[in-house]
């Protein structure tokens, strides 16, 4: 069975959508999502009822934003993250998001065709925070092969 890679990212914005400090982020969002959608190895990403992105979903309470997606391989996600227009957003993230002081990104292997749920994703992030990187929940820094 082919394994795909699921990814969750959570972020604490410096203000709500209409906050002028967030304007730069929202100005880039559609463009970056379009790059992801067309990137080799992209499979799926979470969208809200508007269907464009997941920014209106705040399943973890407070003002925490989520970003969840599935990729054909770790390499595909890594290339998109670091070798596309997304890199400049990563570079600028402190203009828009506060640091967590704890893991805010996790990846894990899923069977091909599986659409991860936010409950599942939260479990994986908790696991990473509790036990550090393991084959069930890890990061780019400490990757594990699909079993």
């Amino acid at each position: 069975m082919t394994a795909h890679l699921a990814q969750l990212n959570i972020a604490a914005p410096v203000g709500p959508r209409e906050d002028p400090r967030m304007a730069g982020f929202y100005a880039e969002l559609d463009r970056i999502n379009a790059i992801a959608d067309g990137w080799p190895g992209f499979v799926w990403r979470l969208v809200d009822d508007d269907g464009a992105d997941a920014t209106s979903l705040q399943p973890f309470g407070g003002d925490i934003m989520v970003n969840m997606s599935v990729w054909q391989s770790l390499e595909a996600l890594r290339e998109f993250t670091f070798r596309s227009g997304h890199l400049d957003i990563l570079r600028r993230r402190r203009e828009w998001f506060r640091p967590f002081g704890d893991a805010s990104m996790v990846v894990w292997w899923v069977p091909e065709g599986h659409v991860p749920t936010l409950v599942e994703a939260e479990e994986r992030l908790d696991l990473l925070r509790r036990e550090g990187p393991t084959p069930r929940a890890f990061t780019f820094r400490d990757p594990f092969p699909a079993s």
Partner: protein, 217 residues
């Protein structure tokens, strides 16, 4: 902390002791793609056998990677034997006596920066550092700092990322610091525009180093 450099590192360095072989290495390293023995021999005005000897010695030492391809573009019977091609290896070689481990410390610093969310302070420090390295035309400055620039239309693209290892583990912070450093060194005209390889920054070719003065930063 690394131990004394191992035999492989010493061998890599020793392979470059011969000045003509070093010229072969530098020529291959500066090329956009892989080169054949004939191409290297012709470019350096040396015999094909001598070029082959140096190229193979460099490959043996781990400084060059070898591949095989038909240069003519033809395939099938009659296309001729594939040529042996050489390109610079991506493997890093560092020899430090006494042993130094700055890379490990860089990763620790980058961890701390990302956890604390103090990237803006990192970028400001990188910009100041860049300003101290400024001087001369952009291309010369980029070359001196190890970026290996090449012209691509209106911009310089940079074949080498001097911070490659730690840029892979901490791309947000390191590429941001790299951009700020180049902003400081070149006075502007730089932006992030990553391609499949090399450095993530491109530099406008119109860039001229502006006089760096104290109140600029």
């Amino acid at each position: 902390m690394p131990d004394l450099p191992d035999d492989q590192e010493i061998d890599a360095l020793a392979a470059l002791a011969d000045t003509r072989r070093r010229a072969v290495y530098e020529h291959v390293a500066a090329a956009a793609g892989a080169l054949s023995r004939d191409q290297v021999a012709e470019a350096l005005g040396i015999g094909r056998n001598l070029a082959a000897h140096h190229l193979d010695r460099l490959a043996e030492a781990g400084l060059l990677d070898v591949s095989f391809a038909r240069l003519s573009g033809r395939a099938g019977p009659g296309a001729g034997r594939p040529s042996k091609l050489y390109r610079r290896s991506a493997a890093e070689h560092a020899v430090s006596l006494p042993p130094r481990g700055y890379r490990a410390l860089a990763e620790v610093f980058a961890d701390a920066v990302e956890e604390a969310g103090v990237e803006p302070a990192l970028y400001a420090a990188a910009r100041r550092h860049g300003a101290r390295l400024a001087g001369g035309p952009a291309e010369e400055t980029l070359r001196r700092l190890g970026y290996e620039p090449y012209a691509d239309g209106d911009v310089w693209r940079l074949r080498n990322c001097p911070f490659d290892g730690v840029a892979r583990t901490h791309p947000g912070a390191v590429c941001g610091a790299n951009l700020a450093l180049l902003e400081g060194a070149l006075g502007g005209g730089v932006r992030i525009d990553p391609g499949p390889g090399g450095c993530c920054v491109v530099v406008d070719r119109g860039t001229r180093v502006t006089k760096i003065n104290g109140d600029l930063f």
